[in-house]
């Protein structure tokens, strides 16, 4: 049930991001200053923002940014994490020590603090957000895959592959990584939720996507100045973030229950 709800939410978000211009005919950057802060109406179902821009058009455009950042961060993080995690777990020894210490240090930084730090010094931009979130994102995958690799390398079928002359790269790609894949998929689904919130947080703090590019985080930040006179500026992007993140969390939780039935209580 959770998987279905999550899947429906995520599919709607992807469709909204893809077909945004069809759903709302307005230009996300087009201004109608005379109608600024107008509440929802028939012509503008979600109202207009502080510069008279259509909030629905900006929301749909922002969905593209959120999903794109999520996808980019998860792709980079999971690829790097799986590669380093499998190397550390399969080979062990000094190489494992080095990778594990780097993971320990990066894990010593709470949440998105390192991302804030990196974006603060590199300068605010979408590329830097993806880079910063990937720098902290890969460690979770690496730790997960390392654990799986440590277990898998001792299993009979891996020993057999080694006896048959398979090289380390072949064993890692054909045997170690596939065994870790279900757990990685769960982590990646939950990671999408994390990356979307992190991007919105950074943009909210003025460290992410820069105006006039619409992002749900910057929309929320702009809405803060109009809590009294136009609360819809704050409510709309917040609902979008919460629902999309909830969708990925539902999907991730549901998949985790499938992968590890012990957790489904």
């Amino acid at each position: 049930m959770m998987i279905k709800i999550g899947l429906v939410i995520v599919c709607i978000a992807i469709a909204a991001a893809l077909f945004g211009p069809v759903i709302s005919p307005y230009d996300p950057a087009g201004q109608e200053l005379s109608r600024r802060l107008e509440p929802p109406s028939v012509s503008h179902p979600l109202g207009l923002d502080e510069l008279g821009r259509d909030i629905l058009a900006r929301l749909l455009s922002g969905a593209r940014i959120s999903l794109l950042v999520g996808l980019a961060v998860v792709s980079v993080s999971s690829t790097v994490g799986m590669l380093l995690g499998s190397i550390a777990g399969y080979f062990g020894g000094r190489i494992d020590d080095v990778i594990s210490r780097v993971v320990d240090v990066l894990m010593a930084f709470p949440g998105i603090l390192l991302a804030i730090a990196l974006v603060a010094v590199l300068g605010p931009s979408l590329t830097h957000v993806v880079l910063a979130l990937s720098v902290i994102g890969w460690v979770g995958y690496a730790r997960l895959v390392r654990g799986q690799a440590l277990r898998t390398r001792e299993l009979d079928f891996v020993q057999a592959a080694r006896a048959l002359g398979a090289g380390p790269a072949r064993i890692v790609i054909r045997h170690v990584l596939p065994s870790a894949l279900p757990a990685v998929v769960v982590q990646a689904t939950l990671g999408m939720a994390g990356a979307i919130i992190a991007e919105a947080s950074l943009s909210f703090l003025g460290l992410g996507v820069q105006p006039p590019t619409p992002s749900w985080g910057t929309m929320l930040d702009a809405g803060r100045s109009h809590l009294f006179d136009a609360p819809h500026l704050t409510v709309v992007p917040g609902v979008a973030i919460a629902v999309l993140v909830l969708g990925f969390n539902f999907l991730g939780d549901g998949l985790r229950d499938r992968v590890d039935p012990k957790l489904a209580r």
Partner: protein, 306 residues
């Protein structure tokens, strides 16, 4: 326990060393010249040279690194570019507010999460359980930078019950604490449910019920008490999330803590202060995790013998 304590302390040293190294290298990630970036395009070459000298950027990298580490050990994190005062003094002046907010948020989280988790476990697989856990998942999914303004719209703008921002009275603390504590409450509620469910399956709970104890007494007196160990751990481990959360919460509610100082120092490109705030938050996080691990080892002997 002493061996476990020493081993755990020794393991913390390389982590702290790594954290300090990473924070040191931050300023060197600045594209171009950090001094030029701090002063802006309009600064004269003399001003840039003077700032480079005062920041020590004109010295060899290894000398800078040794000097940075030495300063960290002595508690000297350099001078703030914006305020012209020691970084430690600026952080120290705002520390009380951040600690106050973090503790208030954790209190809110515990007050909400523990009853919610216990009720969900006791009424497992019922409407109550599903409602409680859906609420918890919604709490995790709801970003605090949205929850904060929403609460402000409702309780400050519409109802006029609470101040929208600032400090001074206890009323000022309510909205920031609830905003910051909500996600933690959601995580803790899920953890409490799982932990109490685990204990409810144990034979000693059945035995307590067989001895005539009421269901609520068996849960509160026996199952809940034993399920506290993982909950304590999660509270400790989530302190990092609370610390990071203060950055956004303090920004939303103009709360004058270390988190807001960090964001302000980023806007002013006050890199020594940025480094100081990040180092401070990270080191606090490492130490809280250390204390949590030690507490866990103390509470559960199996951990320290592993």
């Amino acid at each position: 326990m002493l061996r476990y304590l020493i081993r755990r302390l020794l393991l913390t040293i390389p982590v702290l060393f790594g954290v300090a190294t990473l924070v040191f290298s931050l300023i060197h990630f600045v594209p171009g010249d950090p001094a030029q970036s701090m002063l802006g395009e309009g600064a004269s070459p003399q001003e840039v040279t003077a700032l480079r000298h005062s920041l020590g950027l004109d010295r060899p990298l290894l000398t800078q690194y040794a000097s940075f580490l030495g300063g960290v050990i002595r508690g000297d994190l350099g001078m703030s570019f914006r305020y012209g005062t020691p970084v430690t003094r600026e952080i120290g002046a705002r520390l009380y507010r951040t600690v106050q907010l973090a503790l208030a948020a954790m209190t809110v989280a515990l007050i909400v999460a523990l009853p919610l988790g216990i009720v969900a476990a006791v009424f497992r697989a019922t409407v109550i359980d599903h409602a409680a856990m859906t609420a918890a998942l919604a709490g995790i999914s709801m970003p605090n930078f949205w929850l904060g303004p929403l609460l402000a719209i409702l309780f400050s703008v519409r109802l006029g019950w609470l101040p929208v921002a600032g400090t001074g009275t206890l009323a000022h603390l309510v909205l920031p604490a609830v905003t910051l504590g909500a996600a933690l409450a959601a995580i803790l509620a899920r953890m409490t449910r799982a932990s109490v469910l685990e204990e409810l399956r144990e034979l000693y709970v059945l035995a307590a019920r067989a001895r005539g104890l009421s269901r609520s007494r068996a849960v509160v007196r026996h199952a809940f008490r034993n399920s506290l160990i993982p909950i304590v751990t999660i509270v400790g481990l989530q302190f990092g999330a609370v610390l990071t959360g203060t950055i956004i919460t303090e920004t939303i509610f103009a709360w004058p803590g270390v988190g807001r100082l960090l964001i302000q120092s980023i806007s002013f490109r006050d890199y020594p202060l940025v480094q100081g705030c990040i180092l401070f938050i990270s080191v606090t996080y490492v130490f809280v995790n250390l204390v949590t691990d030690l507490a866990y080892g103390w509470l559960d002997p199996r951990i320290r013998f592993e």
